[in-house]
């Protein structure tokens, strides 16, 4: 929902970044305000995941120019864990499996890290159990998932739901969802999308990276951006996504080249 005097959550200016010496981001600009849902679409390899991971602070990417301001703070000065505690959340395109760390312990440790950052007391195991069960319901997940290793042996769809479960607990002010819809069957997509919608409110914002209009049928974006070759080439409303679905990206790439 667009609201003119809403808080500026994210402001990215002329961002350039390398990985292993190769430039991937080539001057990216983006502004996101509280209450908004943005979608980034674009061809494979255009830098969408790179941008997402840079926001979360992945050490493999070297920012060579530009700035990222998150709620008035210079994001590039913060460690990944500090970004997470201040309200950045990245749902990974490929969530990792971490056998041996129980999902429940993982959720509790990260939840309490955030509480500590906010100056709150750690939540005890009983209260946390109640909280996590409530959130499980939102994602229609079985409590059995809590006892398993983080994502260990989860199906693709279960991993994605587990990512949203984490987001539901951490209540970020910016949720970056990298291809949260890829590989989901229609029922799982509905569950994930309704989870995201339930978490969206006027104080936070969502950035969806996707290849498919289908996700946007369930989560309505306020803005749709087209990314190619490390830049945002085109920004429009949800109608742009429909146009992309029908015509592909070539017309935008050609327009940019001309």
């Amino acid at each position: 929902m667009i609201c003119d005097n809403a808080e500026l959550i994210l402001s990215v200016k002329d961002l350039t970044a390398n990985v292993d010496g190769t430039q991937i981001l080539k001057g990216l600009n983006l502004e996101i305000k509280a209450g908004e849902v943005h979608a980034i679409m674009g061809p494979n390899g255009s830098g969408k995941s790179t941008f997402s991971k840079i926001l979360a602070g992945h050490p493999a990417y070297e920012v060579t120019g530009g700035e990222i301001i998150f709620r008035g703070q210079n994001l590039l000065e913060l460690e990944p864990e500090e970004r997470a505690r201040s309200g950045i959340f990245l749902a990974f395109q490929y969530p990792l499996e971490i056998p041996g760390v129980s999902n429940l312990d993982f959720l509790r440790v990260s939840y309490n890290a955030k509480r500590k950052h906010e100056g709150l007391e750690e939540m005890d195991a009983f209260d946390f159990d109640d909280l996590v069960h409530e959130k499980l319901g939102l994602l229609k997940m079985d409590a059995e998932f809590l006892d398993r290793g983080v994502n260990e042996g989860f199906s693709g769809g279960e991993k994605k739901r587990n990512e949203i479960l984490q987001m539901a607990l951490l209540e970020p002010s910016l949720g970056i969802l990298d291809e949260i819809d890829s590989g989901l069957d229609i029922d799982a997509l509905r569950i994930v999308a309704s989870g995201v919608n339930a978490l969206s409110n006027e104080n936070n914002a969502m950035l969806l990276v996707t290849h498919y209009q289908r996700l946007l049928d369930y989560i309505t974006p306020d803005y749709v951006h087209v990314m190619a070759n490390g830049r945002i080439l085109e920004t429009g409303t949800k109608e742009l996504a429909l146009e992309l679905e029908a015509k592909g990206y070539d017309w935008i790439l050609e327009g940019a080249a001309a």
Binding site: A56, G57, H58, P59, A60, E79, P80, E81, R83, A84, R85, F89, L90, F92, P95, L96, I98, P99, G100, V101, F106, V109, S110, A113, K114, H117, G149, Q166, L170
Partner: protein, 460 residues
């Protein structure tokens, strides 16, 4: 006909950044020197009176020892494990006056009975030999009922591999042994706890504990075998041998924990034979010793045996920890699973050599071996070598080995959820070890090991 041998690597994996092994000034450079050194160790043994059968067993082993020498790194089997630091010491027999009043730290609440040896000597006041089902014997040689003697004589020192140098040295020096006999079809509910303590009084001492477990046909037992100094300092050398005979259709769940102190030398042998349909599960944890080596040998002698070998070694500082395992099949339709993990930090050196032998007769064998290794520092080193010798043509054998650092992506995943980098690394290291620790069937032991890991991590 199917032969499935899948492998991720069969070469020796090492960290490319490693330094060279430390060089001792006291190297016994010739084989004659190393044979003489071994001869000195043999001469330390005390005599046994009134047990002619034992004397005979000792004499046979002594004859083998006299032909051998302390191995050097020029021998393939000892290539990565340098005993220079061991032979730099002159070992003595422990003072028999050394004793302990009590030792609460070793008590396992779940265990029914406890058999304690200190410096190779049975300690009845530290042991608790009650709470056992009828017919079960747990005790030392002196307590052995006469009707058990024949079975013990037939088994003690008779496992394949008895001529290996340290095994033969142990047998040649044998004065007493921890004996466990589970009669036919008896299931012992509570774990049997076997504790081998070492204590020195400022001198460098050698102890050679010995253990024999006979699980007869259809019996079931859980064993916890522990080597430790109970937190006491001192340089000592433990040369231990345990033989386990798992009878037809019997089931043995074995936990072996080596948490000697950091100055200790530990060379241990576990030799297991399995009869038809026998199930043997072992979780071997190796934590202590400046140089430690575990020879772990499982001989499957009947059809349809199942063996599960789980290993975890944690080594740091400039210490060396070595596991040499062998699973030797001889009959068809047997299965085995082995997972060996090693975590090396500091300038430590971890070694794993895992042989699996499948002769022509052992058709339909299904065996898998996985060696997973974690390097926590750029100066640590791990050598891992799976060795599959497969003669049979209709078998399924898989093996693989990985040596890795903590994945940046894994650390980042945890960081991206607000967990600090250091805490994330500890959590991941912990998780790596937990997979093996969780196999241990005794809850209090799992807890102490978990606590030990947390303490080590807090200290680092």
């Amino acid at each position: 006909m199917t032969i499935e041998v899948s492998t991720s690597t069969d070469s020796i994996l090492t960290n490319p950044e490693v330094g060279t092994a430390k060089v001792s000034t006291n190297k016994l450079s010739t084989k004659v020197d190393r044979a003489a050194y071994l001869g000195n160790l043999l001469s330390l043994r005390s005599t046994v009176d009134n047990l002619p059968w034992l004397q005979e067993l000792r004499d046979q082993a002594a004859a083998i020892v006299q032909e051998l020498a302390i191995p050097s790194t020029r021998e393939e089997d000892w290539r990565f494990t340098d005993l220079s630091a061991l032979v730099a010491h002159t070992w003595q027999q422990p003072d028999p006056a050394i004793d302990l009043k009590a030792c609460d730290s070793i008590v396992l609440p779940e265990a029914g009975c406890r058999l304690v040896f200190m410096n190779g000597v049975f300690k009845s006041h530290l042991s608790k030999l009650e709470d056992l089902p009828a017919g079960v014997f747990v005790g030392n040689l002196a307590q052995l009922p006469s009707d058990r003697l024949a079975a013990v004589q037939a088994a003690l020192g008779h496992q394949t591999g008895a001529e290996e140098v340290f095994t033969a040295l142990n047998t040649a020096s044998l004065t007493d042994a921890a004996i466990v006999c589970i009669p036919r079809n008896v299931a012992v509910e509570k774990p049997i706890h076997l504790v081998f303590l070492s204590r020195t009084a400022g001198t460098t001492t050698i102890a050679q504990p010995r253990c024999l477990v006979l699980a007869e046909t259809g019996s079931a037992v859980t064993l916890v075998e522990e080597y430790s100094s109970a937190d006491a300092p001192g340089t000592y050398f433990t040369n231990a041998v345990t033989e386990v005979v798992v009878g037809d259709n019997a089931q043995v769940n074995h936990t072996r924990i080596q948490w000697e102190n950091q100055q200790a030398f530990h060379i241990g042998k576990t030799a297991v034979s399995q009869g038809r349909d026998a199930r043997y599960t072992c979780t071997a944890i190796s934590l202590g010793g400046q140089v430690s080596r575990h020879h772990f040998e499982v001989y499957s002698q009947g059809e349809q045996t199942h063996s599960q070998l789980m290993g975890l070694t944690i080594v740091d500082g400039d210490r060396t920890a070595d596991t040499h395992s062998l699973i030797a099949f001889s009959k068809p339709y047997c299965t085995a699973t082995q997972v060996n993990k090693c975590i090396a930090d500091g300038k430590a050196h971890g070694v794993f050599n895992g042989r699996i032998y499948v002769p022509k007769l052992a058709q339909q064998t299904d065996a898998s071996q996985m060696s997973r290794n974690l390097l926590l520092s750029s100066k640590a080193r791990i050598d891992t070598k799976p060795q599959l010798e497969i003669v049979a043509d209709n078998v399924k054998c898989a093996h693989g080995a990985t040596v890795s650092q903590l994945e940046d992506d894994e650390v980042f995943y945890l960081q991206s959820r607000g967990i600090g980098a250091d805490a994330a690394r500890k959590l991941l290291t912990f998780a790596f070890a937990t997979e093996i620790i969780n196999q241990i069937p005794v809850a209090s032991l799992r807890q102490s090991l978990t606590q030990m890991m947390r303490d080590r991590q807090a200290a680092s």
